[in-house]
Symmetry: C2
Subunit: 149 residues, 2 copies
Amino acid sequence: METLTIGDFAVRAGIAPSALRYYERQGLIRAGRTGGNQRRYERSELRRVAFIKIAQQVGVSLDEIREALASLPENRTPTKADWTRLSAHWRRKLEARITLMERLRDELTGCIGCGCLSMQRCNLINPKDRLAARGAGPQMLLNPPDQDG
Amino acid sequence: METLTIGDFAVRAGIAPSALRYYERQGLIRAGRTGGNQRRYERSELRRVAFIKIAQQVGVSLDEIREALASLPENRTPTKADWTRLSAHWRRKLEARITLMERLRDELTGCIGCGCLSMQRCNLINPKDRLAARGAGPQMLLNPPDQDG
DNA sequence: CTGCAACTTAAAGGGCACTTCAACTCAAGG
DNA sequence: CCTTGAGTTGAAGTGCCCTTTAAGTTGCAG
């Protein structure tokens, strides 16, 4: 078996077939086709999905993920070097995000804790270096509600 | 002036009036009413909105935020101690999230970098301690696209 | 060659966090 | 008073990330 059907691929990727089709429409992944028009996935596509899942956990939009993936070669299977380059890029993003959250953590204690939580003054809420202001953005990315209390 | 109109409150809170009405429908904030049925906000409600904004930056859903806010007293204005208790709770959540992302960062380099990024084996993608698996959840929480390349 | 699970598509639906719209009312200054 | 900007409501719309459904096709086991 050289390639995978969407069902098999979905199981291995840990993602629904419908999501895979969606990703394909969005230009995030690609698949070959049989004579009868059914998708056949190369194993290397699993890495793409893996990358997408990781990036999502970090809170990146599919739009940005697509941009990142666009830096991979189109005509050949990405090498380890390709992935390394990409991962280095994301590592930086991730680190920026971590730094952000660390500051948030530090200020949360000092700022809310002290009761100063004023919209006007508090640099937690009105940061000069704008944290991640644009658009609305929720999601239960954070805590697996297990540890909730 | 003791209370604020929705317009003034919105400006001070740095959030649209429509969002404030939405939050109220969701039970996240409260407002008094004039004889003519217009909302009048106490200044102390600003702290609630501040808290909501912070929690959102961390990636928490409004549902969870409401739960957290539910621990504040209903019959009186929350004291600094109330906010301190709440912030301590969130600090723990935030720290868990930071730890998660640090692991993500560390493994990203080692795991994608080395090319091992296999769906089956990689504990980045299939973590035993399930990171934040439930539901789909994107958002551009992460990077202000400024530093993108 | 047949039968059935798995596949295909386009289109509609769903949850979240809002925003926008239409139609209407209120509050405050001149 | 009257005007006008600001506020009110419910309902519909938006963007993101998918899932579901309907109607039909493919592929492999028996």
